[in-house]
Symmetry: D2
Subunit: 342 residues, 4 copies
């Protein structure tokens, strides 16, 4: 892309997250322009996209892959199409940003990654939390050695309310659709690989979730090759809102990230002192990270450098989620190597 | 503007604050479009504006006032041109958003406000801090009566570093160019009018500021008609950064806004516990408020409703700044009525 | 007191504050023992004191002054007897710890201080807040130069509820009985002398207070010889409890002390996030400081060194309180020199 | 003890913790008096105790058990003598406060508890953290139902520095001498019994600790009968000081306790914002809890009511510690029932 100023993007899927990426690419990523958007709801998408100056809206993803003006694609289609779209995009020689997970099956994930590797295109996965201002600060401290060797990582990750039961049934479960973000966060923080997983999980919020074969509350321990241990606690329902905190404890100290809040106002009355609940959900909490990950991806594409979150990161998190699911069901520590071997 | 979907804006002045307004109008205010920008640096502005899809850039403000497609103008010219541009815009029947202050002279301010009144156009002034998320929350609490009658307002407002001495010489001084924001904030919070002002001011940071006839450190007391007292402390130089806090204390409690920070991370080491300094300066701290004030202005224009900060607010803040200057120089409480009478 | 291990104390007055001092002297000040207590309620005091191992309780203060086994006296009698008791104690050659104020009349104060000076005994005044852990930390930072030159001091000092109206009528008023602590605090922080005072005061809480000739809400500005300005805001009634905060802002930074609270627990619910109100009132908030001031006094007596808060500090605070009262009533800045001259 | 005003205490062992109890009993527990202290270092102890008005110091514990004026004993002897002293005290009909653990062997613990039961005396164990102001507040919220059903408990418990290696060799290990407090805390918070334990432990701080057969870093998961899960992270060395935090997350919200600090002062400088590290170690952090547990014990003795922490609590924590040790060594979840059965 020598001499080219901007990366020309095609976006597959203009649902909630797709629209966020399109908006960010149009307004906040100076290295990017959106040349085509693909969504089955063509008419509605066209109306919406026009407001951002994007006129080319198509219904068939193949029209994006075939478009020679497109440098890179952003895949925001339903999860079960991610792998297929990745492979098609790779074949067409497009660099790829793909929402996580690549797939919830190991084989399919490997297949998609192989296609990317064979094609020699760049791949970045949508582990957006790595680009969160708070967590990035902590990771930098780890990387600089300011916290010494990492001994313990504590991650709290709780949603304000459970997803629809239909989603739970097909999502792959709490470890695959929710905790997977935290597994990636733990790897990001520790900078080493997970060797073994133990998960204790329960159904405490909604029996229907249990009937669907899933859990709604889970605590997971990850043992890393370098001796560090990560503890992740997940809940499908924190009534006070989206609870997203990370703490890294090491030989030289600790760094802790509190939740972000709408305001910094405290109110003192005769009864009590009140302050803000956390930002409501991921759209509010991680808004900045969505823009930042796109900036970094566009920059990697322009400079032909390795994107900050790659296929290997997707594969590793999938394996951890599989091991955690197995561990919770069989109530025993599970080696990642054993899961990977199958 | 019956049936019209968007307000068509002309912007006068594409300097630092002008560009922020243009960008917000283009990207964050759905009710707005920018049809023309005026700046003496036409070539440079044209290049920059093209990136936002704005092609019409002119050098002469009159071209904006004469443009029949323009509904409203945003005046970001140098302060000493505000009044002139306001009067021209009013004459042309354009609604007006004007950066503060209208002028640093009372007569000129009144003259400009008269022109606006005669023309019957809408006017909003750029007291952007009223649109800050933290301060707006506190004001809402006051308005809802959650804090009872307001007894004391404490405002801390300190800049990270003094402006260039050339600016100090023409700005009208610390009360006129800096504390004026805080005077407006006090009025916004108390919801009553200032009767009397006492200011204690010093030159503690840079003797050159004193030689220019100004102060660099000031504490001002405002007495309101309803019995409330506001205390404002200003400094031209807080070495730890931009310090912007407001507290309202009333018969039913208090609400306090802390500074915003880049992250919510705390770091514990053998030596100490550290956390973030406040957001660096007004561009970072008040970024959200600049977008919000434009949204509200565009909305007022569309609905022909009274803008949230009007000419009277500009006049009152100017009078308080004049009284504070007089008080600091003569070391005595000064009645607002006495300043207004001249 | 060569070779003596402990200071032998006589305490005049076993009311609320007297009992705190006696308890601290018995249990927390290793350098002290209480050999006699004086209170008009001899019987009741005897019962209470026995629990602390103090058997000698008398009704007549003169019995304390005449007691040759007494090294030092702690004067906790009603305010209008402080000066008389100080003079008697000085005449008897006892070192003196006296609750503030010495008197609410300037002449009487000077007379008592003269007696102390003539007798060559040590005197410490009960400005206990100087011994508070939070404020002491800030003062140390100032002294070490960590904050640079002091530019602005902000003191918030609000009581949970007004005192009985009978007390208001004889106390000398809000500046004399309440703000005087804050005037001393400002002097402690700034390390320079007050030159001029301006106070804005109101009756906003209880009209009866106004009818008694006093104010219930006040904001005071103190101008110091070294250019620093202190701002103090006082209220007789903060419905959320005792609000005691100090901030020092200087050329190298600022230090701020938040209120102490019963616990550090935050509670997140569906509705809001709540945390503790400040410690209820001065007995809770300043408990540690009462012990610390006695320790330091006992140590000064043993070592014949200058106590940390002396007669001059009492005189200066009285003058500031007088100037503030005059300023509030006449609505003009008042020079301390002018008050002192009368 | 009908009609008796105070509980007469005998204290066995006047080492660090023994002296704290003696001092609290003498000065802060109004229902108590210390009539005899036993310590092998008779002379030194006598000197120290005299300062508190305690004159009776003996070398032989039997002299305490035989003393008919003694109502209750406080056992602060070395851990390996706890059981023996408990049995002797029980036989003598004394109520017992015993430092934890009763013993580090299950049989011996049961034997001692049997003796207590047979004698019908009251027993309270020194799980002082239950009396900490912060944790007590959280437990009250749980008990009141303010947090709903408990789903997850997070406990962080880290020491500032490892104990001497000699201590490590005989203490029973990190789970027995350190985490045992946290196991009791988890039971206190959840209000249900632990069914299963999984612990992941490492040697990351000092290889000597590993050579002594112990761990220095551990993460433990406790599964409770009511479905709650507790996660405890322990480290022998947090370089920033004693880190003691508890969070309870339930169906109606969460409550979190931050560390206590020496002051509430924040310092803002050009470089950063700093605040206090946690209170240094358990003597500072839990000082209030030591007095509170004695008050409650004395009160239970006077009223012949069940003490707040009893023998069963000691037994349960021991079992959890044994299970955790086994789990960490065998890397598998361990049922409490299996440990208890042996």
């Amino acid at each position: 892309m020598a001499g080219q100023e901007k990366v020309r993007f095609g976006v597959i899927g203009a649902g909630r997250i797709g629209r966020i990426h399109i908006q960010n690419l149009c307004q906040r990523v100076s290295d990017a322009e959106v040349v085509v958007v693909c969504d089955v709801a063509v008419h509605e998408t066209r109306q919406w996209a026009a407001g951002l100056g994007v006129d080319n809206v198509v219904a068939d993803p193949q029209d994006v892959f075939n478009d020679r003006s497109v440098d890179a694609v952003v895949i925001c289609s339903p999860t079960d199409l991610h792998a297929e779209h990745m492979m098609a995009a790779a074949k067409a020689g497009k660099d790829i940003f793909c929402e996580k997970p690549i797939a919830i099956e190991l084989e399919r994930t490997k297949q998609a990654l192989k296609a990317v590797e064979d094609a020699g295109v760049l791949l970045q996965l949508g582990f957006n939390r790595r680009f969160d201002h708070n967590f990035q600060r902590i990771q930098q401290l780890v990387e600089q050695g300011a916290l010494g060797d990492v001994h313990i990582v504590n991650i709290t990750s709780r949603d304000p309310a459970p997803p629809p039961i239909e989603y739970v049934k097909v999502s792959g479960g709490i470890f695959m659709d929710m905790a997977i973000h935290d597994f990636d966060m733990a790897r990001y923080m520790v900078g080493s690989e997970v060797v073994e997983v133990y998960a204790a999980a329960n159904v405490l919020i909604d029996p229907e979730i249990g009937e669907a074969g899933d859990f709604d509350t889970a605590v997971t321990i990850l043992k890393f090759a370098n001796g560090a241990t990560a503890v992740i606690d997940n809940s499908r329902q924190a009534v006070y809102g989206y609870d997203q905190r990370v703490e890294v404890f090491g030989s030289k100290g600790r760094a802790s990230a509190e939740n972000d809040t709408p305001t910094n106002v405290s109110v003192y009355t005769e009864d009590t002192v009140t302050s803000d609940k956390p930002l409501h959900f991921f759209l509010e909490r991680y808004m900045g990270s969505f823009a930042k990950e796109m900036e970094d991806f566009a920059s990697a594409v322009l400079q032909r450098s390795e994107p900050p979150v790659g296929g290997e990161d997707g594969l590793k998190s999938l394996l951890i989620a599989m091991a955690a699911t197995k561990s919770a069901k069989e109530n025993r520590p599970v080696l990642l190597a054993d899961v990977a071997a199958h």
